[in-house]
Structure formats: structure tokens, C-alpha cells
Amino acid sequence: MGKKRKEVEEIVIDMTPMIDMTFLLIIFFILVNDMSKKDLEELKLPIAMEAGHDEPPERRQILNIRWFPAGGVPDGVVAQYSTLGIGIPPDQEWSDIVWRGQVLYYPNIDTGGRTDPIRKGRADYYWKLAQTMENEWVPFFERKMDKTLGIELPDDPILLRADRNTPFKYLQKIMEVCTRDGIQIWKVQLAASEDPNVVAAREKARGNQ
């Protein structure tokens, strides 16, 4: 009888294994969580077969180009711009360039009277991008001597990411900015997805060998 009473008193759950498990799970998720994805906006990349698997070089910079058709700008983007005090006209297509979550170009950007150094006489809507490249990228890029030109050029690449529907002129504009004096970045990579069917087929073929 005395024994039974003791059992009722000491119902204590041992928490130790549960806490161990939870810590293990936390460690797992910390390790799996890839923080390098923070530079990547969510985009639908076009598919390419030869897209070499991307191992990011150390000093590479990533530019995300977003584009939305007229009337198709998502609410989240409209809200993002309204916090900056910019209204997106509903009947106009919209595009911007994002670097590390920072907008470096959008269609109505104030030029502050700057003109395009390559296309003389035109307003320079890409001054912010050019400034970022010149002050924050190029000084940290490795430089190599180019034998035919006899000058040192930045030897690190930039990666351009865009939706498959994005008009190519926006990428061409960025490339133009890259060739400006004081920047002269010449290595450009275009992001593309690998076709999941092809990847699967290749792995299958490798398995059969």
C-alpha cells in the first residue's frame, strides 16, 4: 500500500531527451540554412542546358533585375515603394535593379542633372548603379593587366539575374554602365536554371554507366 502512494507522488517527466532532440534540430537547421541566398531576389530564371553549376566566386556581386507588366505590379512591391514615397502608376510597366535588397535603379529615378557619359546629352538614370559599382565594387575587385590594352582591368565577374520575361534592354543598360570609365567591369554572367528533367536524365545516365 505504501508503495502505491509513492508512485503517485513522483510523476516527473524527464525533459532531458526532448531538449537534446530540440537542440539537435536547431543545429541541423542552422547548418542547412544558407545565408548566401539573401542576395537573391525571387525570380523565375530562364532554362539553359549549358548553365554551368554555379559556385559563387568570392568577390562577385549580384544584380537582380525585376520587371512587371503594366498593371501587374505585386502589392508587396507597391508597398515597398510607397514607404520610399514613390507611387507606381497603375498603367505603366515597372522595372528596377536590386542589389542586396537595395534599389539602385527605378524608372523615375531623379538624375540630379547628371548626363550619360557614353550617350552624350541623355539623362543618366543609372547614376546610382554607376556610383555603387565605382565606389563599392571595383575598389575591392582583383585587377589584372590587359596585354592588348595596356591597362589594368577588374578581373571579377558580376552576375545578372532576371525573370525570363524581362526586356533585355535593361540588362544591356547595366552592361553599358559596366563599360564606363572608372568601372570597366568586363566579366558578366547571366543566371539561368538548369532544366530539372535534364538534370534527372543526366544523373540517371551517370548511374547506368
Binding site: 531538449i19 530562364p46 542546358m49 554551368g52 501587374g72 525570363r164 540588362l171 563599360t179 570597366q184
Partner: protein, 172 residues
Amino acid sequence: MARRKKKKFEAIKTDMTPMIDVTFLLLIFFIVTLKFKILEGRLDAALPKDRGTSTAEAVEIDKIDMLIKVAEPGELIEDADNPRLLMYEGRRIRVEIGAHKYYYDPFNIEDPEDPLPELTAFLKDPAYDKEETPISLDARKGVVYGDIVVLLDVVIREKFQKVSFAGTHEQD
């Protein structure tokens, strides 16, 4: 007095509840912020190194100029697989190399391993030194990123080393 003291010794137990709470919050945070690795690749290209700075005369070399134009723009529709995404239907792009013309629909490619068989055959011409022949992609009005990537894919598959892009002809 004696009874109270004895009870105190018996009941030294840390309260685990706050720790477990915090641990679960951390766990939930990491689960929510988890992004799985995306299959993402890249295509390499180069820009002209000397534009806008050099006054040296261009050396006449054998090169391939691809002029990319929109033959039929097609219609921007929602993707059947994912309504949040957009794609073009009935699009036709024309690639001009000198007098040669090639057509393709970048959003409806039959054989992804060989999207442009005629262009591939043209590029296989042994007259071109693949390491030295520069290819320039000149995209004109209305061309989108997806159109270019298909073409760049073909060029890179044929192992051309010097691929570059022309500037835009459009206003901002």
C-alpha cells in the same frame, strides 16, 4: 522547522519551461527562414573591354554578328504550371547572321537539348576558330531575357569562347 528544511533539499529542480519555450522559438525561426538550395546555374559572357575609352582602330577579324529581332511578340499570359508567373504564347524570334535567318520560339522549345538545330549546324562550320572567333549578340527592340538565354546556351554549347553583347538601341 525541520520539516520545511527537508523539503527544500528534496525539491531542488530547475524550471525547464522557459528554456524549452526559447528553444522551440529558435527552432521555429530556423524552420521558417529555411530556403532549400535552388538549382541555379550561370552562363558566362564578356563585354567589350575598350568601349568608350580606346581610340585604337579596330582590327578586321572574322566575327559573327547575331542580330536578334522579334518577329512576332506573342501574348503575355499566365503560366499554366504556376499562375503567379508569366510567359509568352505564340512568340517568334528571328536571328540574323548576315543573310542567314533562323526562327525560334523561346517559350516553347521542342527539344531542349537542341533548341535551334539549323543555327547549331551553322556554328559547327569548321571555318570558325571557336577559341578566337568573337560572337556578338545584338538584341533589338522587344527582345526579352529568355530569348537571349536560349541563344547564349547554343553558342556556349558550341564552345565559342568570346561571346559579347552589343549596347541597346532603345531609349531609357
